[in-house]
Symmetry: C2
């Protein structure tokens, strides 16, 4: 009556077990099922690394770029940097008694979800400026590290930097083992990512491209110069900004790119518009049980035009529910240890 | 009567022989004499790489930054990017008949040295805009490569990218062999450097920090996006801009820095202001026979405040004439082959 298949189906239904346990594979990318995306990735890597092959790519040109939010880690209920900003408003509130009666800070402190969802650009900019500027880069990095060590995701009750996708960690390691240099190219703040991504992804700070505020060199008074974050936005590394950021920071065109939303469309197009073998991938969030399911109608990580383009151009689309047999690392502290 | 010492002295005097042939050393850094700078470098590297030592620095933190003009290659009679700009004005002149009668272009075409030396910022900006903007990044890179293959230095009659300092090539390789990651941090244009520095220095494009114009993503018309250089300056990576550029592109503080002019002062200060073992070096141009001699009064590569600070703080100062037994690689095509 209760054979193994039924038990697995029940466990899957209540979210305690991967939908794909039976398909778990050996070899590289164990958390990827043996479906099209994994075959595309392994096939591509085999082609570009085969010495003497027509598609061989020299090591120094094996540049792989990854979006962060929704591609390498979870981005729900809102971008985690947004969660950080809200937590910072609460932490800083005692030093700003006026926030109790001043919007948009009042909405944060009162947990007024309706007001928060209705914030306009000016309101968002005020919260960002109050939590991300007017301090040194070193002080901001310490704040990010402290938050990462103490904050917990409201649904999964785990540290945010443990809500990284296990299959993507395996992909990063697999590419590096095959001579690729892996870069983050994210709309998130570059100095919000750098304090933790080396440990989480094995991607060093100098391989992180992101949005930034203007930073200025100042005399700290004790003869030691410091770098101070201004409240002025310098660069938004999203949409058409991603190829610009790649050009500015990396200076050559990637041959491999992975994203999950319309903000990654131009990065994927830019990658695919070069000569020779190229790979473009999209993570499609289809798994409401183990993670979240959203695409065309979502406020966070909207995937609409890029999905149409991926289908039309036969880019690789990962169906999270059916292509991945694991979502997050089994343990909170599990991080990839391989560098670069 | 004519013993070996006299012969060497005569050869040195007429510029045919290194002043330090007798001191040439084996082991690492063969073009460095066994004087203080070499001892400082080798001693520093030994300390930070000794496992278990008090000054040990993990590999991922071994970030070394180098200025380019005057530190890794020659910068006289004017910055080589300036020579490139003047050559480009001449090459583009047939398409701009109005330049024959319009300043500052007329001065370039007439080789009017006096007018060129008197150019104000606006005039320089006009030449730079006419030669560095309004084209795609790919087209600009091709132009730089073509120029590098055909242009010759007026005094040495060699390609500009062969006028790199042999002792510094050895230093770059030596640092990389000891686990350092080497970066260029130059006031020069980032996209002027990237097409040739990988071959010349073993430094890949993604490890080049430099000045830049605004670059925009555009539709080329055939469905393939292109990146186009605007005439608007985006970032000047010089002086106080160097720590800002290091923070933006590298995201961590170097432990080793080398420069040659006042434009490198803040980069050296920023490097030295961190904790733990640190190294700051200056190339002092003292060799009018083999290269050039200039410092406090120079228009190009002025070394004044940084020299005072280096003396006061016991930074390493390379006396080109006495500390180096070779200046340029023996052959025009000599380039370092080691990557990263």
């Amino acid at each position: 009556m209760f054979n193994r298949r039924v038990i697995v189906a029940v466990l899957v239904a209540i979210g305690l077990c991967s939908s794909a346990v039976a398909q778990q594979s050996a070899g590289p990318l164990p958390s990827w099922n043996d479906s099209a995306p994994k075959r595309n990735i392994v096939g591509f890597v085999a082609r570009v690394t085969a010495p003497g092959g027509v598609d061989f790519v020299p090591t120094e040109q094996r540049i792989a770029v990854f979006d962060n939010d929704g591609t390498l880690w979870c981005e729900r209920p809102i971008y985690f940097q947004g969660m950080f900003a809200l937590d910072r408003v609460r932490a800083l509130a005692p030093q700003h008694p006026e926030w109790k009666t001043t919007q948009p800070f009042k909405a944060v402190l009162d947990k007024d979800i309706k007001a928060l969802l209705g914030l306009d650009e000016k309101g968002i900019a005020q919260i960002v400026a109050a939590t991300h500027a007017g301090m040194t880069e070193d002080a901001f990095a310490s704040t990010v590290r402290d938050w990462m060590a103490s904050a917990r995701h409201p649904r999964f009750n785990r540290p945010y930097d443990s809500l990284v996708y296990q299959p993507m960690l395996e992909l990063l390691s697999y590419l590096r083992a095959n001579g690729f240099k892996t870069f983050l190219v994210s709309g998130g703040g570059v100095d919000f990512m750098r304090p933790w991504v080396e440990k989480a992804y094995g991607i060093p700070p100098e391989q992180v491209v992101g949005s930034s505020f203007v930073v200025k060199l100042q005399d700290s008074g004790d003869g030691k110069p410091v770098l101070v974050k201004d409240a002025k936005v310098e660069f938004i590394d999203d949409g058409a900004g991603k190829p610009v950021g790649i050009n500015r920071f990396i200076g050559r065109r990637p041959i491999f790119a992975f994203g999950n939303s319309d903000g990654d469309r131009q990065m994927l197009e830019w990658t695919m518009a070069g000569d020779g073998p190229r790979f473009a991938g999209l993570v499609h969030h289809t798994d409401s049980l183990r993670e979240y399911a959203y695409d065309r109608q979502s406020n966070v990580g909207k995937l609409d035009k890029a999905l149409d383009e991926a289908i039309a151009k036969h880019w690789t689309i990962v169906d999270m529910r059916t292509d991945w047999n694991a979502i997050f690392p089994p343990h909170e502290t599990a991080t990839v240890g391989v560098k670069r």
